[in-house]
Symmetry: C2
Subunit: 356 residues, 2 copies
């Protein structure tokens, strides 16, 4: 290991934007999708790599080459366990990245595939994951066109980690981004929330419920394409992964500097998920999903958008859950069944580690 | 863990293209850049994801959107140690991916950055790596435009793993690919070989040599741009990473189905590297580099190409090391100082694990 000499090390420490006395080491929560992660990204990464594309705080970067507008995104997948009810790390690695492209309003086209395998990982499991990736890419109409395989020593990984990066093409003239969110916009959710996180938690902890809770892991690109093909005006799209619905809404409200108001009773939650959340002490709006998103659309387009989503098997439970209000600063409130509203905050720590 | 039932599991096992009785588990060598890795890729991944872009066996995928030709590539970096003489995992993650784009004849433009951090990783090291990435992107004229951060439990990683994917633009009409290699082509190497692997090995094993051997980790995109700007015809480019010069040549010879003949005395090797290789029992042509490549050009362009490369600080030792001969099947031979030729094979096992 190359050690820095005294003065050099002190200078480095002094310039670190995360106070090292408070956070000498990376915590699980720095990858949890909540406040600590957002803080790490916004103080360390965004200012260091400072550029307009990264600064847009979108699910991916959108740029133009010649006449072509493209979206580009990446995600690493470290989910544990790798095989779970409703999916596995392979299909998840396709869905997650394809969905991020869809959230940019792009039609996903190409994926890269980076595998980090741990020495000793069963070859049969690698084959199973490979086939799952292939099946998911076929369903999502994307191709794996480039890849990389690394192997790390036994004990230095956890079976398999996958990175996918994706390129999608934007075939319309709309700008779909947090900056487009306006007062009076309507918030539509594409389906029920909380299944992915609870399915993983149940499996990890060996919890058994009356019916097995299945992850919602799915490609949502088709739903977005249907909206675009019907010329629905879309102001913003966001998938509800780490940190769940709540964290996604807070992030958008803060970026757009508007007030997002939602109603708790409108949020679809399966009975099994609600029950599990009560037992485990979770709030379903903070639990991760891998096949759900919100569409923020102008009021005139809301009903048609809802009808289009509901026609899709993966959007059958789509619902309007709230709207955007004018405000001096970005925040989110949720009205409960009794009519009282409360502020919704981002996940602060780490609720369910390694769910994606 | 979701377990497959008897029949389902047997079917899966039966279809696995890697014989599970021979390789029940992933070995370090499956990521080593040699025969086992090539076999894993060519039997499991390429046929499963079967498409023309992946099948081209290039350093990246080349495709067209509208009038624009782009290259797309990915690599994960698991190098150990993460700080080494001449670089670190951050700069390496930029150089490696930028170089892969350059090998496709593309000008690198955008990078994605996926971090997999281990819980407990020092925040100061993360900052140091972040700054190194930034410095390397600036030197390579690329931007990090999208990213992702995951944290895994302590003991399930090794400090930090990085994935970068890259997009580059192809601004010329040439097709630069293994399929373009022709008899009579000249093989030019951009500089001395073996420094990256030996620098890492020395550090890992605590070996001390008279002078510290520095990794050659560097961006080679400028050299390729200089060749293209001078209208040099380039048939193929390949960087000499895992598996070194030998494995790269064998891969190209087999893909192009030609005979590549090189001369041992022509291959530049620093004295320190040669000495270290003798002590450690390595052959420098199998040792990994991270700032070296070969350019395969028609004979009429060879001298001019050589002069252009030599003008660049990173190509000062560029040399012609061999040529392409007509043959019935792809293979590589190397003539030694005594004038005898021997077949050069790919690395079969794992010489130096986790060098990138």
């Amino acid at each position: 290991m190359i050690k820095l000499k005294g003065k050099q090390a002190n200078t480095l420490k002094a310039t670190c934007p995360i106070p090292i006395e408070d956070y000498p080491q990376v915590l699980m929560a720095h990858g949890g999708g909540g406040k600590l992660m957002r803080n790490l990204i916004s103080t360390m990464f965004t200012p260091t790599f400072d550029n307009n594309l990264l600064n847009s705080e979108h699910d991916g970067a959108v740029f133009q080459f010649g006449d072509t507008r493209l979206a580009f995104t990446t995600d690493s997948y470290v989910v544990n366990p790798i095989f779970f009810a409703g999916g596995d790390i392979g299909s998840l690695a396709v869905h997650g990245t394809v969905n991020d492209l869809a959230m940019c309003g792009a039609r996903p086209v190409y994926l890269s595939l980076g595998l980090i395998l741990e020495e000793g990982f069963p070859m049969e499991d690698l084959w199973r994951v490979t086939q799952s990736i292939q099946q998911a890419t076929q369903n999502a109409h994307v191709q794996v066109v480039t890849g990389d395989t690394k192997v790390v020593d036994h004990g230095k990984g956890d079976g398999i980690y996958i990175n996918t990066a994706g390129i999608g093409i934007i075939e319309h003239q709309q700008t779909i981004a947090p900056s487009q969110i306006q007062p009076d916009d309507v918030i539509i959710i594409s389906g029920d929330v909380g299944r992915h996180g609870i399915a993983l938690m149940a499996q990890r902890e060996g919890l058994e419920f009356e019916t097995t809770i299945q992850s919602d892991s799915a490609c949502v690109s088709g739903l977005v394409q249907d909206l675009l093909n019907a010329n629905i005006t879309i102001h913003c799209l966001r998938d509800l992964t780490r940190g769940g619905l709540a964290s996604a809404l807070v992030e958008l409200a803060e970026t757009a500097q508007h007030h997002i108001a939602i109603e708790e009773v409108k949020i679809p939650v399966q009975d099994g998920v609600r029950g599990a959340c009560e037992i485990l002490g979770f709030d379903p709006i903070y639990v991760a999903n891998e096949g759900r998103f919100i569409a923020i659309v102008p009021p005139d387009d809301a009903d048609q958008a809802l009808n289009i989503l509901r026609k899709h098997p993966n959007g059958a439970d789509a619902t309007i859950i709230g709207c955007v209000l004018d405000a001096k600063r970005g925040h989110v409130t949720m009205r409960n069944v009794l009519g009282t509203s409360r502020m919704i905050d981002m996940l602060s720590g780490e609720q369910l580690p390694r769910i994606c």
